[in-house]
């Protein structure tokens, strides 16, 4: 992949657009800052865009040494490729590293790879292994290690191996396809795909893709901690905690750019945030893993400021186009127009997120094209519904009984009602909701984030795919999506993406009110420990001021 990185001085085009919106008063300063920095614009540069100077910025290089205690669930370990919780991966990040990493700004950065290139048709990927990387048992890290790991990921016969699905372009019959990996030399290998897949490298950032040594056979990476990273586990007790210390006998390839802390202690305090709060007050933890709801503010009150990660996780209030009256595009667009997404974010999710634009592509996706959203016009909405002869029709919005999802749908329904359109709310318990989630005429579904914009569109909006709950079938959309799937360069893909997003808007596919944010609270002297959109805890970079 000619993964073009913008020069440090060059700004993301969307950031400039946001700056204009801020000047026009459409974006608050805070929202501008979160959006612009999420695009990878440095904080001082972002302030510069809107004509302000950045507040005094603290020095960001931590001192060497020190210990940190973090609240996090400690679960029984198992084979990395079968991990189903980010926490399992986070404990091991100090010694098990990844080929590539997903960054807070939405970019993918090389770790154990030095670089990679994709052919123009996204059918062949050349991976260049980082030279000079050593395992902590003294072995060299070579392309054979990479090939071994990719082969492990492709093995679908292992129950719960979620990597197998992500590697489908190079597997066959549930294992690595013969000839899919070509080892060129010690530091180079080539992947030959059976169909274009620009997500294959991105999928290697996922937490089950930890790179293990060839001697790893068992299912406990803590018991036999051979890895490339600078730390080693000292103890690991399920449900209680884990202690990790710097490995004195190993020279890390990234020496000098991390491994600041001598010791990291994970403390499992259960699932009740009140217990975490009590522990923080007693000085027993320095940071939380993830804080939700009111506790974000409560932790701030006791001196642990929050950091926020914008994610592409969202609530899709979608219409099913197979069930009337939602087969009529004017009805869908009218209902969209009746809803002010900002209000849904504020009342349904306490303003803990970013307003979205009804097309399910997030500003943190590298190929995001700023298209604007649906206009908010309740009068026009009512007029359109009346024009379709549905003035007396009673719509029904279904949601699960989960607190924030129900509250968000309540806000959506209340606004539609305020526009003068009849609507009824139904809340189903979780046990029954999922039995039929694909077929409700008008309902909401929670979607987790994927790093690339095309990934969710492929899963949920392509004609006839398994999770197409919107019943959306549009040949032009499918063709454009195919085209986008074959463009490895994000900037080039953005041009196609603009058209795709416009189709989503024109067709009124869903009301997608906001992107959810994630929060973490940490003491002010903890550095580099900001919340990560996919929950990564890279403690090899954490440090104390």
């Amino acid at each position: 992949m000619t993964h073009k990185k913008r020069k440090a001085t060059e700004l993301h085009p969307a950031a400039k657009l946001y700056a204009r919106e801020h000047a026009e008063g459409k974006l608050s300063r805070r929202e501008f800052m979160t959006r612009a920095t999420a695009l990878g614009v440095a904080v001082p540069a972002a302030y510069g865009l809107i004509g302000l100077t950045a507040p005094a910025v603290r020095a960001d290089t931590p001192q060497m040494g020190g210990a940190l205690r973090m609240q996090m669930d400690i679960k029984a370990q198992r084979d990395p490729r079968t991990w189903d919780w980010s926490e399992l991966a986070n404990v091991c990040r100090g010694w098990l590293e990844y080929l590539v990493s997903y960054e807070r700004d939405g970019t993918v950065q090389p770790v154990l790879l030095e670089s990679w290139e994709a052919s123009d048709d996204a059918m062949t990927f050349t991976l260049n292994v980082r030279p000079g990387v050593k395992w902590n048992n003294g072995d060299d890290f070579t392309s054979a290690d990479v090939a071994h790991n990719i082969e492990r990921w492709c093995d679908a016969s292992v129950e719960g191996n979620s990597m197998a699905g992500r590697m489908s372009a190079i597997s066959e019959d549930g294992k690595l396809r013969e000839g899919a990996i070509e080892i060129v030399d010690d530091l180079t290998l080539r992947l030959h795909l059976s169909s274009p897949d620009i997500a294959i490298i991105v999928n290697m950032t996922d937490y089950p893709a930890a790179v293990v040594h060839q001697s790893f056979t068992g299912d406990d990476p803590v018991a036999n901690p051979i890895g490339t990273g600078p730390y080693l586990p000292v103890s690991h007790d399920t449900g209680i905690g884990a202690v990790i210390e710097r490995n004195p006998d190993h020279t890390w390839w990234n020496e000098g750019n991390g491994a600041y802390l001598d010791r990291i202690e994970f403390v499992d305090l259960g699932t009740d945030p009140a217990a975490w709060m009590a522990a923080a007050e007693g000085g027993e933890i320095d940071l939380t893993y993830q804080t939700t709801g009111d506790f974000v503010d409560l932790f701030e009150m006791i001196g642990l400021p929050a950091t926020e990660a914008i994610t592409a996780a969202t609530l899709a209030v979608r219409f099913n186009q197979d069930s009337p009256p939602y087969d009529n595009v004017n009805v869908r667009r009218a209902l969209q127009m009746a809803v002010n997404n900002e209000l849904v974010l504020e009342l349904g999710y306490n303003d803990r997120g970013t307003v979205a634009d009804n097309h399910h592509v997030c500003p943190i996706h590298p190929e995001y094209a700023p298209t604007g959203g649906t206009p908010f016009d309740p009068e026009q909405a009512k007029a359109m519904i009346d024009a379709e002869g549905l003035g007396d029709h009673e719509f029904e919005l279904i949601s699960i009984d989960d607190e924030w999802q129900a509250a968000s749908c309540d806000t959506v329904a209340a606004q539609i009602r305020a526009a003068g359109i009849n609507i009824n709310r139904t809340i189903l318990p979780g046990a029954t909701f999922w039995n039929d989630w694909l077929n409700y005429p008008f309902s909401s579904t929670e979607w987790n984030m994927r790093p690339l914009g095309v990934q969710v569109l492929n899963l949920a909006y392509r004609s006839g795919v398994a999770w197409n709950e919107a019943g959306f079938a549009n040949a032009e959309f499918d063709a454009l999506l195919d085209e986008a799937n074959g463009i490895p360069d994000a900037d080039e893909r953005r041009e196609v993406m603009a058209k795709i997003q416009q189709i989503m808007l024109d067709e009124g596919v869903l009301i997608q009110p906001y992107w959810r944010s994630l929060y973490r609270n940490a003491r002010p002297n903890v550095l580099n420990a900001e919340m990560h959109p996919t929950f990564e805890v890279r403690y090899q970079h954490y440090g104390l001021a």
Binding site: D84, G270, A278, E281
Partner: protein
């Protein structure tokens, strides 16, 4: 006496058998097994993978057979893989892999408690280390609770209806009427919060250095118990039991104080202090002794709430974790331990009563 002991142990075995069967039945309902497979092999695995996991791990046999396996009266399941290697319940528990090397039966009778799926460890190890932590907590609870309860009860019962009696009784009733999950939270808010309660005041006055007076979380007590991290959990359990024992002591004390021999002593001119200490106390303490012993199983109850609330990994915490994760063999072992604790404390209370009260005989 021996017959009495044998009968008690027999009752204990029957109770344990019934209880474990109920627990076994409830944790082995098909939906529960599916949850177990999903927590073990991955939350998003398909139905076919669930079925294959259950099959490979011996969960697809009739429930009674598997209960028998756990008891050790039915031979443990074995399974021959395509490559000739043999796997099975007893192979896993003894960690041998050669075909034929493992014992045929490996249940409770043979001394195998099984494996904990939540902690991926031997159940016996998990239970024994956590029971130790709870033992320390209970020891401190008893050290705080018993003298306090007896003192309050005796002081209140000395002069029935006096002002001391009324105020101490009110205190005792209030403390025993407040469940642990209320008093624990109130304690944390009052004494272990840097924003509300007592701590900010004390910081203001310069009495304490840290942000809080007591720690609202007892995790650090696992490594080193200090007054500051252990006070709140101990007090939360102790207060609840204290009120009850104090009420019993008071009742017993007032009854003794109306006895003829107390009046005689009084008429003889013995001082009130001596009457209480020499004549009343010993007889008044018989009833509280049994109640304290019976209170211990009740305290185990409170331990679940308090250990989870203060994140102190002891027996109660293990019980909570096992139940939350449908850890079958750990739950079974925990119920056995609970039955043993209940019956042993009852036994001690019965036998102790005989020694304290010469009028009673075990026949």
């Amino acid at each position: 006496m021996l017959l009495f002991l044998a009968r008690r142990i027999g009752v204990m075995l029957v109770t344990a058998l019934c209880l474990t069967f109920v627990v076994f039945y409830l944790t082995n309902l098909p939906a529960k097994l599916e949850t177990l497979a999903k927590t073990q092999a991955g939350a998003r695995i398909s139905d076919a993978e669930v079925a294959s996991w259950l099959d490979r791990n011996g969960y697809n046999q009739p429930m009674l057979t598997r209960y028998g396996e756990w008891l050790g009266v039915v031979p443990g399941w074995t399974r021959e893989a395509a490559d000739g290697s043999v796997n099975g319940r007893c192979y896993r528990l003894t960690s041998v892999s050669e075909p034929g090397a493992a014992p045929t039966r490996c249940g409770l009778i043979q001394g195998y408690w099984g494996n904990s799926t939540r902690f991926r460890a031997d159940v016996a190890d998990v239970i024994s280390s956590r029971l130790g932590a709870t033992g320390i907590l209970m020891l401190w609870v008893l050290i705080v609770m018993v003298p306090m309860a007896l003192m309050v009860g005796v002081l209140a019962g000395m002069r029935e209806g006096s002002r001391t009696d009324r105020s101490l009784s009110t205190f005792a009733i209030a403390s025993t009427a407040t469940p642990e999950y209320v008093s624990g939270v109130v304690f944390i808010a009052l004494l272990a919060s840097s924003t509300v309660g007592l701590s900010p005041l004390l910081v203001n006055w310069g009495v304490i250095d840290g942000p809080v007076l007591f720690q609202g979380n007892a995790r650090s007590a696992l490594e080193k118990i200090t007054f500051w991290n252990f006070f709140l959990p101990v007090m939360t359990i102790a207060l609840y039991g204290m009120g009850y024992v104090a009420r019993i002591t008071r009742a017993s004390m007032t009854e003794v104080m109306t006895q003829q021999y107390i009046r005689t002593a009084r008429l003889k001119g013995v001082s009130f202090r001596n009457i209480v200490l020499r004549h009343a106390l010993r007889n008044a303490l018989i009833a509280p002794f049994t109640v304290i012993m019976l209170q211990i199983p009740w305290l185990l109850n409170g331990v679940v709430i308090v250990e989870v609330l203060f994140s102190y990994p002891g027996f109660g915490w293990v019980l909570f974790e096992a139940a939350a994760n449908n850890d079958i063999e750990l739950l079974l072992a925990a119920s056995v331990v609970a039955v043993v604790v209940v019956l042993i404390t009852q036994l001690i209370s019965d036998i102790g009563y005989v020694y304290l009260n010469p009028r009673i005989r075990i026949s």
